[in-house]
């Protein structure tokens, strides 16, 4: 579909949301379109950036991610200090987080896309990512069903830097942490590498602004995985295969309410739909290229997608919910997530190579 009729359709859906759901949801849909356009337009792939760093010692993608984290942290931590009604992405440091982040980092390399990557690549029309999306949702739902049991293995209360140290110190600590990551990257890649790429930096700037807008409008940071799990939960619940009242996660008042409400009222769902729409809009001019996969590659990719959904729930988020939103809103769980997911990725890139993706 060409961009003009697609723009009209997206605008009509915006009006539909404003008229029948709420103006906030319509505006969040527009923010989601911006996220999808920024992710797809800049090919801002967290998975690709990590893989290029490991395999080619190319730091440009990771530097783009560090710039995104720094900008988003300055915006979000300042906002959290000013507006007490805004919430941070606080996940509990736990065994569940350690296992989940490791498995997520491993599987995202095989599936060639994290939470946001799967969304924007599905929006671009890449067949494997379109196939992965429903399995990611199912995995995310199963993870949410079992996350209570995983937490029983050991956890401590979530730690928020803004609550512990205040907004200004939280920004300072976060920027120092990101600087250490940049230095570690420099040590790994060595001298004589190109550090900056215009595409990654434009993507970082756009996504940091959109993430801040998400926080200002929704009152909570950008997330991806919750929406996926909710979609699968609604279908499984409607099919009579699941009793939410008997489950620790879905019997919670907020989750039970969202399970009963229309998905278009859910914050994460509406930005997810926006991301798909934004990426589709980008694909209307710049069609995506993807090589055909063998049946083994399809099978391995789909299993990885399912495990990615499951593990992202255990890890209290993907690259967006845990890494970007966690770190940029001062959650310690985001800082634990990164090294564990990176360790998983070190194995994931080898498995990816083994299956010749």
């Amino acid at each position: 579909m060409k961009r003009l009729p697609l723009s009209v359709l997206l605008f009509l859906f915006f009006v539909f949301l404003a008229w029948t759901v709420s103006i906030r949801q319509a505006v969040l849909f527009a923010v989601g379109i911006g996220m999808g356009a920024a992710l797809a337009g800049a090919r801002f792939g967290f998975t690709t950036g990590w893989r290029q760093l490991i395999e080619q010692r190319d730091p440009r993608g990771v530097v783009g991610q560090l710039v995104l984290l720094a900008l988003a942290s300055v915006f979000s931590l300042s906002l959290l200090g000013h507006y007490p009604e805004l919430t941070a992405a606080l996940g509990p440091p736990s065994i569940s987080l350690l296992v989940g982040a490791f498995v997520f980092g491993l599987t995202m390399q095989i599936a060639d896309g994290c939470g946001s990557g799967t969304l924007y690549k599905a929006g671009l029309g890449i067949p494997l990512n379109m196939g992965i999306l429903p399995l990611f949702a199912l995995g995310s739902f199963l993870g949410s069903v079992q996350v209570g049991d995983w937490l029983k293995l050991g956890q401590i209360a979530p730690i928020g830097l803004v609550t512990e140290f205040g907004s200004a110190q939280a920004i300072l600590i976060t920027l120092v942490g990101l600087l250490i990551m940049a230095l570690a990257t420099r040590l790994w890649v060595g001298k004589g590498k190109t550090w900056w790429d215009r595409k990654w930096l434009i993507g970082a700037l756009a996504l940091s602004i959109l993430a801040a807008l998400n926080l200002i409008i929704a009152g909570q940071p950008w997330g991806v995985v919750y929406g996926f799990g909710l979609w699968a939960a609604k279908i499984v619940n409607a099919a009579g295969l699941f009793d939410p009242a008997a489950n620790a996660f879905w019997s919670q008042a907020g989750n039970a309410q969202r399970l009963n409400e229309m998905v278009l009222m859910d914050i994460t769902s509406i930005t997810n739909i926006g991301i798909l729409g934004g990426a589709l809009w980008i694909s209307a001019r710049a069609s995506s290229d993807s090589k055909p996969l063998t049946s083994t590659q399809w099978m391995v990719g789909l299993v990885a997608g399912f495990l990615m959904g499951y593990s992202s729930r255990l890890a209290f988020g993907c690259n967006i919910g845990a890494m970007l939103s966690g770190i940029s809103t001062g959650s310690v769980h985001g800082w634990i997530w990164v090294p564990l997911a990176f360790a998983g990725t070190l194995i994931g890139v080898r498995i990816r190579r083994h299956y010749q993706f």
Partner: protein, 56 residues
């Protein structure tokens, strides 16, 4: 290849739109009088939305 990708894309969007239409049909109507604030920052109302980082 491009043709089959377009076919997959059409199936994908048809499934997503069907899901949203089905969900709207089976869900209770939206209470428009109880609309959330357009901008949460400064509203004094904490967000009640779900997020993947939250364990409950």
């Amino acid at each position: 290849m491009i043709r089959s990708t377009k076919k997959y894309q059409a199936i994908f969007w048809a499934c997503l739109i069907s899901f949203l239409v089905w969900d709207k049909a089976v869900s209770p109507p939206v209470d428009l009088r109880n609309e959330p604030p357009l901008i949460a920052a400064g509203s004094g109302k904490p967000s009640s939305g779900g997020h993947c980082a939250i364990s409950k």
